[in-house]
Amino acid sequence: MSYEELLTQIALEDDRFVVMTAENRALVRKMPETLKNRFIDTGITEQTMVGAAAGLALRGRIPVIHALSTFLTMRAFEFIRTDIGIPGLPVKLSSYIPGFLSDGNGPTHQAIEDISLMRGIPNMTVYAPADEDDLLKMVPSIWKNPEPAYIRINTRKTDYKHTPYNPGKSEIISVGKKATILVYGLLFEEAFRAREILLKKGLDIGLVNMRCLKPLDQETLVQVIKDSEWIIPIEDHFHTGGLYSILAEFLLNKNLYPRVLPINLGEKWFTPGLLPQVLENEGFSAARLAERIEAHLA
């Protein structure tokens, strides 16, 4: 099943759902025919789409709204924060091509501050599935929950079979004595393979698929930090406000002091190109991650 098929099925079963887009049709190609007038394309108008979603939610609908990540979170930020965040309306933001997924588009399209922005809105929840399998396991409960939700959409297919999604919980693949990687979104795949490389070299490296960035699965984090010497937050996000910052806030809050190796984009927009090259070039491919981690932990 695809994202579109799942959303269509859910919307056909529950007519509270309306699907909206700011002419970002990639994920919703057939919906004009399947959902008919519950599919609303407002054109390239992210602000109006968000405001209209608020109006529809006022009337009891659950709008699932689509736009490219940068334009959704930034062009329409004030509308999200003021018209959805302040009243806490059940609007679900499906954010298309976040982080490295924008590949050849360039910095105008690179949403690498989106986690920081969205989690800064009181009442907003923030999620990042690792791949299509994870996405399909996560969205039904996220969409049925009454809270506003921001989801970094990721429809990439990997071989990994994720555990069922437990709302608000991260997915522990393993806890490593030497280090545990915390990762979200498409970098899960690279981190998983990097871990395999490092395990073969005798380094006990664990891995957690965060799934939820807000709310934070504090229980899992405490458990992991208790048993790992190093925590390695990896993300296709600036160093400000994403998982690294989330972790830092958490450690301070809980008085915990593991060693931390943050792997992120610092303050740099990445050099555009096709995804495999971008991953390699920026040091986020499995091989490069393994190298970076091994060198630092030595």
Binding site: V18, N37, R38, I40, T42, G43, T45, Q47, T48, M49, V50, G51, A52, A53, A54, G55, L56, A57, L58, R59, G60, R61, E78, F79, T82, D83, I86, P87
Partner: protein, 283 residues
């Protein structure tokens, strides 16, 4: 049922309430006085809205996108018995929710506002849902003319026409001023009707202080099937108080109690008040 004469009396009482809020912290006096008549008309002779049906899903909807006019809305809600008069004494107190912009703690207020250019799209979403459900309810959104500087207003007009939302009404409180100066001296809007027409709306333009004219304009609705309704109401900033009418510098006012007493007399036809409180506050 409010006759047009009864409206004049109600409008007077609403203006008194607005003027009383222009002290002890102040309020957007000039802006509220221009919108007061249209808001009163809508609630008494156009919208299916009363104390009895505030939660009825079939009700009409009112959105004040020009949020800083909220004293006019408070005054009207009191007039209709939806909001207790005594709460107006809590203006700007942290013990209540009566402040410079609307919020949903006040009965009858559908959505908070204050940031210009937001409620046109929220109203659009509501109107769209009503159409989806086959409903007949109307959705009215009041915008300021200065507010039309915000591009999101025009986006909403384009989208409303794309979706043929002829149950949606954008009413412009065209008082010819924006915060600090006349609109035409900063960002000229005229010819304003033509702009809305070019964007696909059906447009009427009337004197927003002439109840008969407002009634005529809204007597046959929608203005044109399939089109957004735009009513441009030419109004006077500060209407009712010659000492502040058409003044660029009396948009937000924080007067002394004495000045307020004199303004209330001026409203009844006394000589213009001598105002010495500072002008051009807040923006």
């Amino acid at each position: 049922m409010y006759t047009l004469n009864a409206l004049e009396e109600s409008a007077f009482r609403i203006r008194e309430r607005i003027i009383k809020m222009s002290t002890d912290g102040g309020c957007f006096l000039g802006a509220s006085l221009s919108a007061a008549d249209v808001i009163l008309f809508l609630y008494t002779r156009f919208l299916n809205l009363s104390k009895q049906n505030l939660n009825d899903p079939e009700r009409d909807y009112f959105f004040l996108s020009k949020g800083h006019d909220v004293p006019a809305l408070y005054g009207t809600l009191v007039e209709l018995g939806i909001l207790e008069e005594s709460r107006l004494k809590n203006h700007l107190s942290v013990k209540d929710h009566i402040y410079w912009h609307p919020n949903t703690h006040i009965p009858g207020i559908e959505f908070h506002s204050g940031s210009l250019g937001h409620l046109p799209s929220v109203a659009l979403g509501v109107a769209l849902d009503i159409k989806l459900k086959g409903g007949k309810a109307k959705v009215v959104c009041i915008l300021g003319d200065g507010e039309l500087n915000e591009g999101s207003c025009w986006e909403a007009v384009l989208v409303a026409n794309a979706y043929k939302l002829d149950n949606l009404y954008f009413i412009i409180d065209r008082n010819h001023f924006q915060a600090n100066m006349p609109t035409e001296d900063l960002i000229p809007l005229e010819p304003l009707s033509d702009k809305f027409t070019a964007f696909g709306a059906s447009v009427k333009r009337i004197d927003g202080h002439d109840f008969k004219a407002v009634e005529n304009a809204l007597s046959s609705t929608p203005f044109h099937p399939g089109k957004l309704n735009v009513l441009i109401a030419d109004t006077v900033r500060g209407k009712g108080l010659p000492s502040i009418e058409k003044r660029a510098d009396r948009w937000f006012c924080n007067f002394t109690h004495k000045e307020v007493e004199d303004l209330l007399l001026e409203l009844r036809g006394n000589a213009p008040t001598h105002l010495s409180s500072e002008t051009l506050l807040v923006r």
